[in-house]
């Protein structure tokens, strides 16, 4: 009985819905027709006006050639005003198919070229879990990596860019993120100007920016092919990558193929200059330590205390469908584990991409990307540490390689393999940034559109400190607004 009633009600509801839909379709059809008519009318008016303007311009040309008598000009002017008056009383805007704006309509926002800048908001959130109870302690060391089992949002960024004036372009990325307790923190990720009109193929960048080192360091998390940062990058450059205040000059070499030489000079202070003048993290007693050593906090004493980052990048088109990019990089600067101690990081990067000649929305494609890094860190002695530490040179190395296959429009499957290791150091037993680590990550990404993505990634981790660990992460990204185009 009850079931019958239910069925009755639900079928009545369905009927209502379909009637409503039919009405809606009717209405839509009518509106469409109206729109079409208005468009046609508008276009008619426009073409007529075009024709009139052309005819009048010709007349004007013909008349103004023989004599430039003021009277004639005035006459024409009057004629023009009269003939074009419908245009002023009936401006195109009024003839546009736009209906009047109502509260429920989307607000018309920035049109390309009609605003002074691109404005976009991009949010990345992750849900998932790991066999480790606190993934952030050893597994996921990147600042934009998922940091806890459950949900995390480590990158909600506001990106602005546009021309400042004829001489500079300006860029800003302001990132909001939620910490372990879902409290919001804010970071000025990048804010810089870039020159547009220097001679001799030079370009200068100034402000806070990601250093041009290798390939991934300078990319924002939403450009990454995986949900987390490669291990070796977080080891050499810390959770945030090498990103600091400074100046970067670059020179496009006069070679027949693309070659660009970069040199960044960075302030080199703080956790975004990880292996350099970075005080490190406080221990239980509030003493700042880096690789176990209490750090000496000191200001800048001269140009020798800055960080220098040279980078050379070249690219070749192997065929119409294949492009490679090759790079070498280095970063030099002092570190804070003692006086007169230096850090050096060297890197090589390689990227290859194939895209079908008749690719549909950029698919299918296959790409391969790899980076290898080698770091030499002169660690100072710390006899007062809980376990006294000697002066020693820490050497770390590692690489990641990833292959991506966009097998059909909107779908990309990928695999990343990573390995990092180093020589043995006195503090290794509790140093999450050292020791041997391996990680293998299969990934599948689905892009519902250019402005959203869903990514499923698995991680198999093996580390000297934690043994084996397994994680699975599901990432969602959405983007609003106009976002500047990306580099290759």
């Amino acid at each position: 009985m009850k079931l019958n009633n239910l069925l009755g009600v639900s079928s009545a509801l369905c009927l209502c819905a379909s009637v409503a839909q039919a009405q809606e379709t009717n209405e839509v059809e009518q509106l469409r027709q109206q729109l079409r008519q208005m468009q046609e009318n508008f276009e008619k008016v426009q073409t007529e006006q075009h024709r009139q303007i052309e005819a009048l311009t010709q007349k004007l040309d013909a008349l103004s050639k023989p004599s430039s008598a003021e009277a004639e000009q005035k006459k024409l002017e009057a004629q023009l005003t009269a003939e074009l008056s419908p245009a002023t009383t009936n401006p195109p805007a009024a003839a546009l198919p736009a209906k009047s704006w109502s509260l429920t309509d989307p607000i018309p926002v920035v049109r390309a070229g009609s605003a002074y800048m691109n404005l976009s908001f991009d949010a990345l959130m992750v849900a998932g879990g790991s066999t480790e109870s606190d993934p952030s302690s050893q597994l996921q060391l990147g600042d934009h990596d998922p940091i806890k089992n459950g949900f995390s949002m480590r990158n909600a960024e506001l990106a602005l860019d546009g021309a400042v004036d004829p001489y500079f372009k300006g860029f800003a990325n302001i990132v909001l993120k939620l910490d372990q307790n879902n409290e919001t923190s804010i970071e000025l990720e990048e804010t810089y100007v870039q020159s547009t009109s220097l001679p001799a193929n030079l370009q200068v960048k100034a402000g806070q920016f990601f250093a041009a080192f290798g390939r991934q360091n300078a990319q924002h998390p939403h450009q990454w092919a995986f949900v987390d940062a490669p291990i070796i990058l977080t080891r050499a450059f810390g959770p945030d990558g090498l990103r600091n205040l400074g100046v970067q000059g670059s020179w496009l070499l006069p070679t027949p193929f693309y070659t660009e030489l970069f040199l960044s000079v960075l302030d080199g202070q703080g956790s975004t200059a990880f292996g350099f003048r970075n005080p490190g993290d406080p221990d239980n007693l509030g003493v700042d330590r880096f690789h176990g050593r209490a750090t000496v906090s000191r200001g800048l004493r001269g140009p020798g205390d800055l960080v220098y980052v040279p980078h050379l990048s070249s690219s070749f088109d192997l065929t119409d469908q294949q492009t490679i990019v090759l790079g070498t990089s280095a970063a030099f600067g002092p570190n804070d584990t003692g006086n007169g101690l230096a850090t050096q990081v060297y890197g090589v990067d390689f990227y290859w991409k194939w895209k079908a000649a008749d690719a549909h929305e950029g698919y299918p494609f296959v790409s391969f990307q790899t980076e290898g890094l080698y770091e030499i860190f002169q660690a100072g002695a710390d006899p007062t540490a809980p376990v006294p530490l000697p002066a020693e040179t820490l050497r770390d190395w590692g690489f990641y390689s990833q292959v991506l296959w966009g097998f059909k429009p909107r779908w990309v499957v990928g695999l990343r393999g990573e390995w990092a290791d180093g020589n043995s150091g006195a503090y290794d037993a509790s140093d999450v940034y050292r020791g041997e680590r391996t990680r293998v990550s299969p990934v599948l990404t689905f892009y519902p559109s250019e402005f959203s993505k869903l990514r499923l990634q698995g991680n198999y981790d093996h580390g000297e400190l934690f043994g084996d660990a397994y994680s699975i992460w599901l990432q969602l990204e959405f983007m609003l607004g106009a976002h500047g185009a990306h580099k290759f």
């Binding site: 209906k99 018309p108 547009t196 496009l252 193929f257 990019v325 008749d358 549909h360 185009a485």
Partner: protein
């Protein structure tokens, strides 16, 4: 004598190189984004310019990779010509930034945005991505209509004349010649397609409204439910129903779009799938340039439409 030659050899070599360089730079170096613009630019520029095209004719112009080699090409360019109206928004701005060529900055005469003065269709009243990947400036696939190609030629001629005044007369004359050739051809094309006025066609993506309007065709059925959103079975079913009521029996597909979807729909409806392109070189028989492309399009369309009365 030999001795003198030996001594002078480096100098001679230098001189030879210098003349070579001078010769090479005698032509205006023009970089264009797409093959249709390349063809029109070549018509207007004639021997006075050297044209380099960035996108391949078979490639989706919205999704071109910003290859670093393009930076070098743009760095060497005197003029860049783009379709504009957001056609190249995903890749050209980053390249121009990196090219550090101030001849090409927006607003400079060396940066030609061909959409200027073109009455663009489908300008959205409000910007709402729930409707798919719409273009704020209007539909950017306008060059395929001959009346717009004339505007493009004029835009290119006007800019080239400013950048390269000695050849100004040549550019103007060439643009005029192109316009005349196009006008003559247009009559022929209109005649060929006249018997099919009002006929309905199906397209994969809404990139043919200008062409449809020019030739009195109706192209308002799309395999994509919304721009940039791939076909769904439900939407295709709707399209198939409408194809029957509108008597649409030809589905046109660009080289970079999914032909298989079109074939599936064609099988169910008995329609023909016709390969089309908006870029010279995008299909066999269209390599000759803009006029050859239009010839090919008009003739193959007429044949397909005639077969499917």
């Amino acid at each position: 004598m030999k001795h003198i030659f030996k001594i002078l050899r480096p100098q001679l070599l230098f001189l030879a190189l210098l003349t070579l360089a001078a010769n090479a730079s005698a032509k205006l170096n023009v970089v264009v984004t797409t093959a249709d613009l390349a063809s029109i630019a070549a018509e207007v520029g004639g021997d006075a310019i050297a044209v380099t095209t960035l996108a391949k004719p078979t490639e989706d112009p919205h999704f071109v990779d910003a290859r670093p080699s393009f930076i070098v090409k743009l760095n060497h360019a005197d003029v860049v010509i783009e379709g504009g109206a957001e056609l190249e928004i995903g890749w050209l701005p980053a390249l121009l930034d990196q090219s550090r060529n101030d001849k090409l900055v927006t607003g400079a005469p060396g940066h030609v945005n061909c959409s200027q003065g073109v009455p663009l269709l489908d300008v959205p009243a409000t910007l709402d991505r729930a409707r798919g990947d719409v273009h704020a400036a209007g539909n950017p696939h306008y060059i395929i209509a001959p009346s717009n190609a004339k505007i493009v030629a004029q835009n290119i001629a006007a800019s080239l004349a400013i950048v390269d005044p000695p050849h100004a007369a040549l550019y103007t004359a060439n643009a005029e010649k192109f316009r005349a050739a196009l006008d003559a051809k247009l009559i022929e094309w209109q005649k060929t397609l006249a018997p099919f006025k009002g006929r309905s066609l199906v397209a994969y993506h809404d990139s043919w409204p200008y062409f449809a309007r020019e030739f009195g065709l109706t192209i308002d059925l799309f395999l994509e439910p919304k721009p940039g959103i791939p076909p769904t079975p439900a939407h295709l079913a709707e399209v198939i129903m409408k194809m029957k009521t509108e008597n649409a029996s030809v589905i046109i597909v660009d080289p970079y779009l999914n032909r298989r979807t079109a074939e599936t729909v064609a099988r169910t409806t008995g329609a023909t799938v016709l390969d089309v392109t908006q870029f010279p070189g995008g299909l066999k028989g269209t390599e000759g340039g803009y006029l050859a492309l239009l010839d090919h399009l008009v003739n193959s369309l007429a044949t397909a439409l005639a077969e499917k009365k």
